[in-house]
Symmetry: none
Subunit: 221 residues, 2 copies
């Protein structure tokens, strides 16, 4: 830890917004340990640069045209496992962060983090492989707990009523509200209420979430 001030890290950045990208390039120049810097407009360009000469760290925007960050990272971690990847994003979408972690991303930063954190992240992924912030940790924690929930297909604790199960099964069979109401000799409104209650109970945003719940709890297979 004595002489880390040597410029030992090459950093490439991919972002489709030129202004932002160039600003980052300038920022990177001020980081004491950053050596060579290259920038790309999209994932494809980045991959070409990496193929020519792999850097130590790649900073990738998640939203990009041509080849977005997700796709670019998939290639990167597969073909260049030595390159540490820092993903930038505007939204802190949990699901996507998880996907990235599964893929083997090395850090995840919101675009509004301060320069100090970016610098810290670069050094940390290079020195210790992974940079963890609260953003990542929270997603991971949640996930592990969710996994546990789904481990026990605990239907009873979910307190889904029999009627709700009827409705859920039919929803999973691609029936519409109208069809379900006819099948069960109910008003369409009633079925709608059951479905709404189900969504509330399992924490789903739409019927898709209900189907996933049905699969993961073992109601259907």
């Amino acid at each position: 830890m004595t002489d880390k001030a040597t410029r030992d890290i090459n950093v490439y950045i991919a972002d489709d917004h030129t202004l932002f990208r160039k600003a980052i390039v300038n920022l990177l120049r001020t980081f004491s340990r950053v050596n060579e810097i290259k920038d790309a407009e999209n994932g494809k360009e980045l991959l070409e640069l990496v193929r020519e000469a792999p850097p130590q760290v790649a900073i990738v925007d998640m939203q990009m045209p041509v080849m977005d960050g997700v796709e670019a990272c998939e290639n990167l971690v597969k073909k260049h496992p030595d390159v540490k990847v820092i993903m930038l994003t505007m939204h802190d979408s949990e699901r996507y962060i998880l996907h990235m972690i599964e893929m083997g991303i090395h850090a995840f930063l919101l675009k509004n983090t301060d320069p100090e954190e970016l610098e810290r992240a670069i050094y940390t992924v290079y020195d210790k492989d992974f940079y963890h912030n609260d953003l990542m940790a929270n997603v991971l924690r949640k996930r592990v707990r969710e996994q546990l929930e789904s481990k026990r297909p605990d239907f009873s604790s979910m307190e889904i009523t029999d009627r709700e199960k009827d409705v859920l099964r039919l929803i999973c069979n691609e029936l519409t509200l109208k069809e379900i109401s006819q099948r069960l000799n109910l008003s369409e409104h009633t079925v709608r209420n059951h479905r709404a209650k189900l969504m509330e109970k399992v924490g789903a945003d739409n019927a898709i979430g209900l189907v996933r719940f049905a699969y993961e709890s073992g109601l259907i297979s």
Copy 2:
């Protein structure tokens, strides 16, 4: 957030080693926001104290006679969900840490952490529910990736294109057309087309059918 220096946190500690326990009690006294402090020799004693008057934070040693930290925590998080639990341990055994996280522990500290980190942990679990350190984050990350390995699906099936798979994945994550189009930097119309094509290919009447296909073909677990 102005006057956090008020003593607003009651902390209980359970550890069977008297010397260590009393040392911690003394240490806690020096923390500016810690108010009342009680200590217990084992998990059973701790639970009695908590039943009488729940604290804001409980610090629990993992290894204890009579009722160890694991058992004590199980009771604690179940019966007193408002009490934030900080687990102390000597070994950084991954298995235990994971188990604790699944149980809903709020922080995990090695016994050789410095006093500053303990203080920080207490305030963080109280203010923000969870205190994440590298110890926890690394275990979580590893776990999530292992999980992924074990369920690598055979996805060569069907003539679903890559782009369609992207869309399908997002559909399964309960995203709407609009959200998907934003995520992939596409027009909403394009996403709509991909979805329609998917439905045609797998013979689904609606998005529900797509989700079922995704599950049954192993695209998602």
